[in-house]
């Protein structure tokens, strides 16, 4: 009788013994456009992180800029001949290249920080709702629905009108408009995952509920969250830019790319196109690259297309 079992020990399909992550990474790079997007995105992050070491000027050190260098065309030299402004200067005499890198830093920072915080808050709330269920769940979900039934821009607009300007305020506003997405995504994901047989199996093995939730269910929800959050970073950056453009986002002393564009907007037709144009290009590249990455991640991580 035991001969059957020994015989039954058969070869599994020949596959390499690599981790899921490595596999996903490999698959990701099969799409060249997405790979380029990722590389650009990484470069942008690097540039933003190390902006103070790369830029020829700290545009926010009032000692280092001079109004006499205001609105110089790309490639001009400063009035004392010490610096060349490759992308020109704005009305305050700030080097646009430096401003853009610093702006990138703020845009990215705001986008990423708000997304991460919103993700954490949303995940906790969503998980909690799915976990507890019942009244709590339906109350939370009603709030989420309510929040989601309003377009983000409207909510942010009102909030910022109430809160005023500031990095902290815009982050707060972005968190407030984003958390509900995550809460809903997490909750519905958890509910789907929770009803799968592997969770019942874990229950059957008398593993504690908490452990099942965090070490079985949650990891299976992460791919979706990763996809949502990349796309949301991009939309947070765009939203921040829009709000800044409407005059409600960042304070003038900490310009994000959106505010740079807005500041330069009034010069756009005047021939000082670079003040608005280059930040616009930077914003575009940033958002497009993130979206390319997000799009590819969706394909790579989407469980439905797998198997």
């Amino acid at each position: 009788m035991s001969e059957h079992t020994t015989e039954a020990v058969v070869q599994a399909p020949a596959v390499q013994d690599e981790s899921l992550i490595l596999e996903a990474v490999k698959e990701f790079f099969e799409n060249r456009v997405a790979a380029v997007g990722l590389v650009i995105f990484i470069i942008m992050i690097g540039v933003a992180l190390f902006a103070p070491y790369i830029t020829p000027q700290n545009p926010y050190d009032l000692m280092s800029i001079d109004i006499m260098d205001g609105k110089l065309a790309p490639g001009s030299k400063s009035f004392d001949g010490s610096v060349t402004y490759w992308l020109g200067t704005d009305s305050q005499g700030r080097d646009m290249f430096s401003s853009i890198l610093y702006g990138l830093r703020i845009s990215l920072g705001v986008g990423v920080v708000s997304t991460i915080i919103a993700l954490v808050i949303g995940a906790v709330i969503g998980l909690w709702a799915a976990f507890v269920g019942g009244k709590t769940d339906s109350v939370i979900m009603r709030i989420v629905d309510l929040q989601l039934s309003f377009p983000a821009i409207l909510v942010a607009l009102i909030l910022l009108a109430i809160l005023g300007k500031g990095v902290d305020k815009i982050i707060l506003a972005l968190i407030l408009v984003q958390w509900a997405y995550y809460a809903r995504a997490i909750r519905s994901n958890v509910i789907v995952e929770r009803s799968k047989e592997y969770v019942e199996a874990a229950k059957c093995l008398a593993l504690p509920q908490r452990r099942i939730m965090f070490s079985h269910v949650l990891p299976n929800c992460t791919p979706e969250l990763i996809v949502i959050s990349t796309v949301k970073v991009a939309s947070a950056i765009a939203l921040e830019a829009t709000l800044s453009f409407l005059g409600l986002g960042m304070p003038i002393t900490e310009p994000s790319l959106g505010l740079l564009i807005s500041n330069g907007f009034k010069y756009l037709q005047s021939g000082y196109y670079w003040i608005s144009f280059y930040p616009g290009v930077a914003l575009l590249i940033l958002i497009v690259s993130i979206n390319l990455v997000g799009d590819r991640l969706r394909d790579v991580l989407n469980p439905r297309l797998k198997r």
């Binding site: 009788m1 035991s2 059957h4 079992t5 039954a8 020990v9 058969v10 070869q11 599994a12 399909p13 596959v15 013994d17 899921l20 339906s138 799968k196 047989e197 592997y198 019942e200 199996a201 874990a202 229950k203 059957c204 093995l205 008398a206 593993l207 452990r211 079985h216 990891p219 299976n220 469980p303 797998k306 198997r307």
Partner: protein, 335 residues
């Protein structure tokens, strides 16, 4: 093991209803005269059943009749609406926390879908090893040996511990699922359609594995399936369910040789068999009724060839019709 004539698992009046309650707005609407109502599915309706130690009890019935629900309640992963479950003769409501844990570990479930029943983000090592480590059945240093033993027993190559489930074929995945349950050294398995999703040749492998494990470890087994051929092959006793109720329980020979309940008879008539060639199929008329709105009296009466007036009004009670055989039919009372 406890003595053999005390059931290993027994349930009494076990019921489970799934109810979709109306929300506040719904209740208001109803009080304003709209015809909303709660959606209520009596998935399992007051079932008495026992599984003897070392026995394989087959549970058959059509789709949606509550087999899985019953199995999951017996495993303790689905709460009951009503009724009692006795584990080795003790009401599980009166068990201490430790005993409950023992009960939970000792009664393991094997699932149907070899894809969904394994966590896709864990390696085999983790899938099988997590519970024994957690329950201190082994230590992390001895885990490899422990796993090797369990996996070999279930016909898996122990060198595959670092793989993910999707790197295996369906049959192998099913083995992983079995290994996961066997790793906690259970005394009883509840197999819910565990071979339904597999090809015949693979199904044979898994069935053989079950029979082997059972013989070697003297496992108790509740074998749920809608495939009568499989159940017949593996079970000692068979329980037939129809729309939430157990309609007949009997040793396997008796059921197949002299089915009592009209539904059992019809079911057996319709099982296609290798040796039944060129037959004229004579089916049982009618659809399976919706569990949302089951027929009155005996649930089977609209399809029953022997239907009587009483069947439409009164639900029959469970009766012993012969030693070791029970049925739930008004015909039994007639006799």
């Amino acid at each position: 093991m406890s003595d053999t004539n005390k059931p290993y698992l027994r349930c009494e009046g076990l019921s489970r209803a799934f109810v979709k309650k109306l929300d506040l707005a719904g209740r208001i609407a109803r009080s304003l005269g709209s015809n909303l109502r709660e959606e209520r599915v009596q998935a399992v309706d007051s079932v008495d059943l026992s599984v003897m130690p070392g026995e394989v009890l087959g549970l058959v019935g059509e789709s949606g009749c509550g087999k899985s629900t019953l199995g999951r309640m017996l495993c303790g992963i689905l709460p009951r609406s009503e009724g009692k479950i006795y584990y080795k003769g003790q009401d599980i409501d009166s068990l201490s926390a430790q005993e409950i844990k023992n009960y939970n570990i000792n009664v393991q479930m094997i699932f149907q879908d070899p894809f969904a029943s394994l966590n896709p983000r864990k390696r085999v090592r983790n899938i099988i090893g997590e519970a024994p480590l957690f329950h201190k059945l082994t230590t992390s240093s001895e885990l490899d040996d422990y796993l090797a033993k369990v996996m070999l027993r279930c016909g898996l190559d122990p060198s595959y511990t670092h793989r993910y489930p999707h790197q295996f074929s369906g049959g192998q995945r099913q083995r992983i699922g079995i290994a996961r349950a066997m790793a906690v050294q259970p005394e009883c398995l509840v197999c819910d359609e565990s071979v339904a999703a597999l090809d015949v040749s693979i199904q044979a492998q898994i069935l053989n594995l079950f029979m082997e494990l059972r013989n070697e470890l003297n496992l108790t087994c509740l074998f749920i399936s809608h495939d009568l051929g499989v159940v017949e092959h593996i079970s000692d006793r068979i329980a037939v369910m129809y729309l939430g109720r157990v309609v007949e329980v009997a040793p396997v020979e008796d059921i197949f040789n002299s089915p009592f309940h009209p539904y059992t008879k019809a079911l057996l008539d319709e099982v296609p068999r290798l040796d039944r060639r060129g037959v004229d199929f004579t089916p049982l008329a009618g659809e399976i009724p919706s569990p949302l709105d089951p027929p009155s009296g005996c649930h089977f009466h609209p399809r029953c060839p022997h239907v009587m007036d009483i069947c439409k009004k009164e639900a029959p009670v469970d009766m012993e019709i012969a030693p070791g055989r029970r049925a739930c039919c008004h015909l039994a009372t007639m006799r």
